[in-house]
Structure formats: C-alpha cells, structure tokens
Symmetry: C2
Subunit: 508 residues, 2 copies
Amino acid sequence: MAKEPTLSLLITLSTALFFFLPAQAALSSNFLRKVPRFLGKSSRSHYAGAPTYQYETRYFDQDLDHFGFSDLPKFRQRYLINTEHWAGPSAMGPIFLYCGNEGDIEWFAANTGFLWELAPRFHAMVIFPEHRYYGESMPYGSREEAYKNASTLAQLTAEQALADFAVLITELKINLSAQACPVVLFGGSYGGMLAAWMRLKYPHIAIGALASSAPVLQFEDIVPHETFYNIVSDDFRREGSLNCFTTIKDSWDVIESEGRKNDGLSYLTETFGFCKKLESVDDLFNWLSSAYSYLAMGDYPYPADFLMPMPGNPIKEVCKKIDNSPYGTSILQRIFQGVSIYYNYTGTVECFDLEDDPHGMSGWNWQACTEMVMPMSSSKEYSMFPAYDYNYTSDEKWCLENYNVKPRPTWISTEFGGHGFKDALKEFGSNIIFSNGLLDPWSGGSVLEDISETIVSLVTEKGAHHLDLRSSTPDDPDWLIEQRATEIKLIQDWLDQYFDRRRSVFYT
Amino acid sequence: MAKEPTLSLLITLSTALFFFLPAQAALSSNFLRKVPRFLGKSSRSHYAGAPTYQYETRYFDQDLDHFGFSDLPKFRQRYLINTEHWAGPSAMGPIFLYCGNEGDIEWFAANTGFLWELAPRFHAMVIFPEHRYYGESMPYGSREEAYKNASTLAQLTAEQALADFAVLITELKINLSAQACPVVLFGGSYGGMLAAWMRLKYPHIAIGALASSAPVLQFEDIVPHETFYNIVSDDFRREGSLNCFTTIKDSWDVIESEGRKNDGLSYLTETFGFCKKLESVDDLFNWLSSAYSYLAMGDYPYPADFLMPMPGNPIKEVCKKIDNSPYGTSILQRIFQGVSIYYNYTGTVECFDLEDDPHGMSGWNWQACTEMVMPMSSSKEYSMFPAYDYNYTSDEKWCLENYNVKPRPTWISTEFGGHGFKDALKEFGSNIIFSNGLLDPWSGGSVLEDISETIVSLVTEKGAHHLDLRSSTPDDPDWLIEQRATEIKLIQDWLDQYFDRRRSVFYT
C-alpha cells in the first residue's frame, strides 16, 4: 500500500480537524478536496434533548478591515447576550465573553453550557459574539457574496475576528457604562486559540482566558507532525483494544486491493452502504478516517449529541463491534459495523451520503489555506493510519487552484508566537487556563504544562475535545467535576485580584 | 479675536506635531489644510557636520496586508543593517532594532546616534527598517502610485508597520541562524510608540523597548486636550520669560487686526519677509505656531540641526530677541525677530516660503486622518495661543473631503489600550522604558511615572523631544549623561535576564 490514493485521505484529514469543521486538503490536484459543510448532512445543529438557554440576539456594525482603511462596506456581526444575572456596572459585574469560532454562534451557545451555568454564580453577563464569515455574520450581505472569491474572503482571518471582539466589547461597555467591569474570555478548539491569543494581544480588554482544547502550538514544527494521528491511534489501542487497532490498521490494504479489482468499487459501495457509487477508494478512506478522528475528539464518558449522537465512551463501543463480530465476519464488515456507531448510532440511516458538494467553499478551508496551516503527518509504524508525510507544496498548490490564495504558513507563529510562545507567555503573560483532555487528538498541539503561576495547564487523562465547556450532567465523572471546580476557582481568583486592584485605586 | 480664522491655526497644528512630520487639520472645510512635506523646504535631511554611520542597505519583500489575503502586490521594504560589532548567533549577540517612523529611514539612522554608540558596547547588530509608505519603502512601486488615493493608502497603518517589523526580524533571524539572539526595540516619537506597542503586542519577538518621547496616551480624552500647547507655553514662560510669553500671547490680536485692514496682508507679508503675498492671516498663524511648537520640541541644551539648525536653548534665544529689542520695536517685529531664530538662524534666508503644496498628500496626514487621531485644544487662559476647542466633526469632514476616508478616533485605544493602557502594562507587561524630557510638549501624552519594576519612566526636567536618542556630544549636560547611563543599565539588565533564562534552560 502507501500509494498515492491511499495517502490522500490522510492529508485530507490533516489540515484541520476541529470538531465542528473539518477542513480537508488533497494530496495533489488530482484529488478533490472534500469539504464537509458546517452542520451539514452528517451533523445536526440541534436536537430535542439539548438544553436551551435564554438570550437576546443583537447586531453590531463592524469594520470589515480593522487594520486598513479601504472603502469596504461594514458588516453586521451577530451576538447573543444575557444580562439576567449580571450584577451591573456599579458592582463591577463580570462579563463572560465566548470567542465565537468557525460556525453558527447559536450552536456554540447551545453547546457551551459551562458558561451559562457560571453566569448566576458570578453574577456575570454572558455574551457570545459570532465569528465573522460564519452564521449570520456575513460581510457583503450574504454568504454567497461573502464566499464569492479570494477578494471577498480576504478579511476572514483570526486577527480581524479578535479585533471584532475587541471593538464590540469596548463599545458595549461604553454603552452600558460598564468600563470597570472585568471581561473573562472563554473558547474551545479554534475558539480557545482565539481566547488565549486575545488575552495575549488585548490584555487591556480581558483579565483572563479559559482556552479549552486549543492547539496553539499545532503550527510549523513546534510539535511533531504525527501527534494528532498518533493520539487517535492510541485512543483506539487503549480505550478500545489492540485487536481493534490492528483491524483498522490492516483494513486500508484490504480496501485498497478491493478497490483495484473489477467492480471493486461497487463491492465497497455495497459493503459500506453508500447511497451512490464510490468514485474512488479515497472517498471511503476519507469517510473512515473522519469517523475515527471524530470518535477520538468526541470520546466523552457519557452519551452526547454534538456533531452526531453517540454513546458514552464511543471508541469502546466501536471496538466492541469490531472485536465481537461473529467468527467469519470479514474485516470490511467489521470496520463498517464499527463506524456505524459514529455514522448511524440511532439506526435510522438507510444509506450513507458522502459529502455531495466537494467544491463548496467552507470558511475553515479558507482559513486553513491562508493562516491556519497546521502540518500533519501519520506514521505507518506507530499509528493505525497509512503513512503520510506532510507536503506543504501540494497544499499550497491546492489552495492556489481552489481559492486562488497562497498560504502564509509561518504567519501565525510570527503574529502570536511560535517556538517562543511559551517563553513569551511566561515572561509577559498571566491568567490563562489551557485545559485539555488527553484523549483529544488536538491535545498534542496545546499547552500541557504549567507555564507560570497564573498560566496553568489543566489536563485530564480521560477527557476529550473541550468537554469542560459542556453543561454539567448527572453522569459527569469525578475528574470532570474537579476540573470544572478548579477552573471556577481560578476564574474567581482573577476576579478577586482585579477587584482588589480596583479597590486599592479607590482607597489610595 | 477668537474668530474662526484665528482659531484655525491651532487645530492646524493640533492633529499631529511630531518633530519630523507635522500634520495639519483645518478648522473647517473653508481652510486649506496645509501639509508641510517631510524634509521639505523648511527642513533638511542632511548637513555637513552630521556624523555618518556605516551600514548596508537591503530590501525585503513584504506582504502589503498582513491581516488579510487580498491579492495585493508585495512591496519592497528598505532596511539598514550593520553587523560589524555583532557577537553573532552562537554568542547570542543582541539585535538592536529601531522602529522606523514617518520618514526616510536614512535620516532617522543619521539622527539616532545613541544606537550606533551602543552597538560596540553590547556587541549588537543594528537594524533600521523603514516604515511602509515612507522613504523608499513604497507600495505599488512609487510614491506617486502609493499615495494615489484612499485605496492605495489603505494599508498605511501602525499595525501593518509593526507586522512588517515582526516578519522582517523573524525571517532575518532564521536566515542568520540567530533565533536565540535577543531583540531590543528603540524608537522616538511615533517610532517610540511603535516600540512600546511592539513590546506589548509581540513579546515573543522583542525582550524590551526604549520608547523615547512616545505620546502613547495622546488619544481620546486620556490626557487633557490642552496639554500640548500648555507645555509649549510653559516653556516660553519658564525657559524664556514672562514678557516673552505675554508678547507672543498678545501678538495674535495684533496680527488679526492688521489683517483686517486694507492692505493689511501686504503689510504682514513685508514685516515677516515672505516671498509671496500672504493669502490669509491663518497662513501666518500656522507659520508662527509651528515655529513655537518646534522650538519647544527642539529646545536642546546645545546647538543642533535636526529639522533646522538652531542654537542651544533656542527658546531662551528667541525670547532674548523678543525681550531685548530696542525701545519702540513693534510687537510684530519682535515676534519676527524671535522666530527668525528658528526659520533663519544661519541668516542666509532672503525671504520665507510658506508651504507651497497645500494639497500634497503626506503620509502622516493620512495617518492622522485614519488612526492617529490626537485631540488637542488650547486654553486662552493658560496658554500663549488663541483659544481652541477640539472639534472632531470638522476634522472628520476635512479627512473625508481630502482623503475620502473617515477617521476611527477610538481604534488606537481599542487596539493598544487607552484608559486601561497603564493597568494592562502593569499586570501584563515588562521591560519598557518611557523616556521623556519635560520641555517636550509631547511629554504630556506619554507615560511619566513608573508602572512597575520593569516598566519605568525616565524623566528629565530639561530634556526635549527624544534628546536621549541623539549621539553624545561634548556639550551633553550631566543629567543627559546620567539618563543615557540608566538606559544602558536597564537594557543590560534585560539582556542579562534573558541570557540567564536561556542558560538555565541548558543546565536543567
């Protein structure tokens, strides 16, 4: 194996695999870059059992380019706000700001229960500003216009998004006479990166940040490129079983050789229950790899329905299917039954659609083609994935062909700190929590040790992708309850110190 | 007095009065905004007695928009570099980076002797990158193209300039294998603001900053709007004499009433020796006010030739002329003889030109019309200038009419910290020197007290605009020698601490 088609899926997955918005890069221009849409077919924005939170939806006119003065139209940024529990300006009531990431902000609000639960305890206002170019916060009036070409997408960058947050919160505080109210930032995944970066770049605006599952070091060669897929593989080996890991590891060659046979693609289409005939084994590779990666990110200890409804400890369930199939079950059928835990846990799917809009422009893919260049490889020796060596050139080619844009792979490190990020934080920063669960494949690109007394790492061995930000449930294990309690204590410390400083200003 | 025409000069001077690049805002659209060019008629880039420093001139291709991905052409940024004294990568030789401000970088290099004198002592590399849109660092290939309209000027902002420095130094360090070499920032005036902001925004890139005469607080209402002109006035009252101050204070009414007479402008033209006939008293008001403000900024203790050749303690000399004129000398003649110290110290000027290109687009005026909105008023009671109340609306109108751009008066505070700047620095920052001389009218907008143990203010009572950055001379007073010695000690401390941290990494 390890021929081109086999490898493609890996880079397909590699560029970005945030929970909500996997971006995919093709190995070469011969391969379509498949672009799962945010909240597309394979995920749902809402389900009946989700807690609902109360908020007001508002809009704010933002400059499209904060760092330049071209005559660009302003755009309406949506934000959700709840002041029900807020202590108000005179009591310096805190403002909890969630850094909206790559998707509809209502979805993040619904899936970030932790913030809503904290608000009454801290008498805090809660605000969820949406990230530009996502949800309703579309420049040029509509998604279609905003996503038209590289020129209209140009201002979809992390720095502009941070400036949006900064301008919005500054104006809002003025309007509410709340200038003295401390702002605490929250964010998960890319939103966690934004929260940490915002604390670094706008210390005058926010007193601290909880950055959950934020792979701020997943750039250039700051962490080994194999990290992500090694963690996914470890999860299957340890949470599942060695047999499960080996079965998956062996499956690629089997698929590859089936695909090469006459009518092999028909056979694979039928085995895996796709609605339409597979066009290449790569599509199947992508489909499987996505499932494994998402299963690792969403390997929560209780049933959840974030991207997809899944049982608690879903990797264990997948591996039970794979390991406990009756004698004689083929390797492909076992794999299929395994990933059905991810793709068809409710048992209601009659056949599976592959992404049907391979040319659709997704916002995250644009970001991955510009700033968010996160190199990833996979090791054939260590991981359960086929070998792949990161190849910047082919990604660049893909981005030029598909978005007419050339990535700047070193820019994020220059702007926010790359190899020197931790040193700079240590010397210059304070009040950041980097929380990570080690089951989460993104944890390898985050900060996993305390950097200073006030920049701390909270690591849970059995946590997955920003589990701590979700609402509490009766099924929460003790370690999760403890993690959240520590976060609450740290946030309380930040606030107490802030209030002490403010008071000392009055009394001296 | 205090009619519109009388007032115009004040706001004319007010928007920006950096030493090198006065920007001028009109009181109303009726008044031309006069735009002295950088290194125009009234200043010189070079003179025979200037020390010359050795450097290599290099160019670096920069992205025009670091924060967005429009398909804009790259531009060539010029930088001057000297590695003669550099200890090199293995010895972690320091890199001293001067943050180029609004003008030709060779001129700043020639007038920043302090850096050149420090280089051998610290075995440092010296690098002077030019600010985009100034000198040779022109986007779109030429000054003419770069300054064509608001669209081509759009990327002339402080944040883009900081990103230029960040990208340049990062690339340069990689090319020299000098990643471990500490960078120390230097800058004066607007360049000092850039140095302080860069230390705040890019702590992973520079270990400290000497921000000389940097009015980082001269925005919105952080300092009283009258500060600048009050300090100019204090200088004339204290360094000159009460009579001198009063004579200038009384002169505006006299000019005003002369101007109203038939042929009054001809009389004024003759009295002040202009080559061409004055078109309004405003032109004369501007001409005089500029002189007073520059005299205050350049009130150095020894003869210098920065913008203009001047004697040591020039305000004292101006006031001697004004105070010691023979009995019967008219107030206008006294004023004229006074400002001749500024405009004609060499005695070689036969007649004076007013700026003859009032519509010329200057880079600083663009910056003043976009981000660098520094409100200024003058108090009729306290100052020697006519009363003027800052009027944002008229400035905005002027900017829209002349540049087709709308200022963002609160943006700099949002981006870099406004009222919360000092608090943020205290909690989050380190290793910045704010040096100021209290004769400098810009000192009122700078940081004049220690913010923390490592963010310190060095104030000299008799210093003027970034005097400390100039080369040492035999005439340096003790307090200047001491100020520079303290700066050297602090920079040495930053470096020692950096080396200690690096060493501890190796030994643990």
